[in-house]
Amino acid sequence: MQRLHLIEKLRVPLMLAPSLLILTLLFVGGLVVGLGQSLGYMPVIGLNNFTLRHYVDVLTDNNFLQSLWVTFRIAFFSTLFSTVLAVAFALILRETFVGSQLSTFMFQVPLPIPHLVAANGIVLLVTQSGLIARLLATVGLLNSPSDFPVLVFDRAGIAIILTYLWKEVPFIGLVVLAVLKSVGPEFEELARTLGAGRWQRFWFVLMPLILPGIVSTSIIVFAFIFASYEIPLLLGVRFPTTLPVWAFNNYRDPDLNLRPEAMAVSIILTVISIILLVAYRRLARYAVTA
């Protein structure tokens, strides 16, 4: 009887064990190996002593703060604009109008398309030889396509942000749309009868209800953008580069001695990311309960 009870208690953990094991090996294992390498422990190339030297090298590098700022700025503005646009689209798409189903479908189209394909699409659209520049020149709004502003490989990272917007707006938008649909119109109707105008209903009624959805999705988006390298590598300037590109370049360098520095950058990136996300979550929780 006692044995049966024990088996019953262990049933769920045992069922979860295979996937937990894989997750632990891949994530925690990778993190531990990365941490070890960032601390200078890499026996395969003869580094057997733990040291903070690589962290000191990275943190005292003149380019570090610049790269950190570029990384943060791209992640912050991409997340901010994505969130604002996603909420706006969700507010429109929750209404029933002629073509609303088609509009919702079109809104979801970017979701399964890979980031690299999206980046290529943006390049084709917004470079000086791109579709928009040529179109504007053809209709006479520009003297020549080369008058079109530089949006790709620019220091502001506009093409990078545009690519992330195209990909992340539907992601956040669909979550917010689902929340809005589950909330229904009753709270807003009630607020109207209590004298709340359009903006008051948005800020005091809808926002607190959709904020948890916004917070969780924007955390995912920020963390993803903050740590991803492929779009800044494809569409960004060579200098200053983002921290993930810095880490990636060092990682794939044939000189294995650069590997510990790549790992140090990655670990720093992870720690900063965690600190920012915890701070953001706390702020959001305060905003919900205030």
Binding site: R192, G195, G197, Q200
Partner: protein, 346 residues
Amino acid sequence: MTTVTLQHLTRRFGNVAAVNALSLEIQSGEMVAFLGPSGCGKTTTLRMIVGLLLPSGGDILFDGKSMLTVPTEKRGAVMVFQKHLLFPTLTIAQNVGFGLRMRGLPQNEIAARVTEMLELVHLPGFENRRAHELSGGQQQRVALARGLIIRPRVLLLDEPLANLDANLRLEMRELIRSIQQELKITSIFVTHDQEEAVMLADRVALMFDGVLQQFDAPRVFYERPLNAAIARFYRSENFLSGIKRGSQVETALGTLRVTSSDAQPDGPVLLTVRPEDVAIGAGPDNNRITAKVTAVVYMGTHTQLQLNVDGRAWRAEGPADFTAQPGDTLSVHLPDKRIWLLPTES
């Protein structure tokens, strides 16, 4: 203190008229119940009054002024919904003070009025609690306080007691009635429960299929319904066809004398008597008909009899100790003052 006037108010959904040419006037400080079965248009009417739904035709007037172009948030009509809809992220005080906050009142004034309102709904000291910490009845009282705090011109209650259990419903009815009488706010509430309408309302507007059937004091629906459908809705199905001539009605079971002879013109009529007015057993010799007992149900305080009267199913109530068997034939007395005449059904 606001008078609400509905003039030929109509709302169509496609080809279906959910509310059809509804006209009535609600006096200042009056409590009116919109009563009727589900889908009869009562909530649609309420939503038009508050401005959440545009009418297809007709007008809504507050103190003689049309409200059609006035947005919901400026009408001064507050709606308490069937679901309490307390904002989950706010405390009870913040919920109650929501309307005042939207009006930009200072915090100290909001706090003072919230305290006053929570006392009015018998929830003093609940300011810092959250909605999930309250029972269903308490949540509905908070919703009521939230509506009342802005001192609305018109209070609209959409089946506010529907989600409460029987005891709480009774308690809330008394609370709503006492507050309404104290504050004298023109109030309209929607219900499908006749008992609730009778207990709470000064007047009842009974609706079937989007059409107003009768707008009267609750007592009138029991004693002088305008047609058989209304009588049925008030659980009176005792009907007998006859021909009215003056103060007498000739039926297949004999001639019956009626007092309310001016209710219908001479000619074919439908006679009705409420089950509790059918006198079983001894009594006056006049106005007697023969009925066959089909079922006897002991109800504790009385005995309910199901009768067959000229092929129609009747109900009657006798004393608790009344004994009869299905198949018995009874002679029942129909008091002439309790007989009401209706038009025949088409």
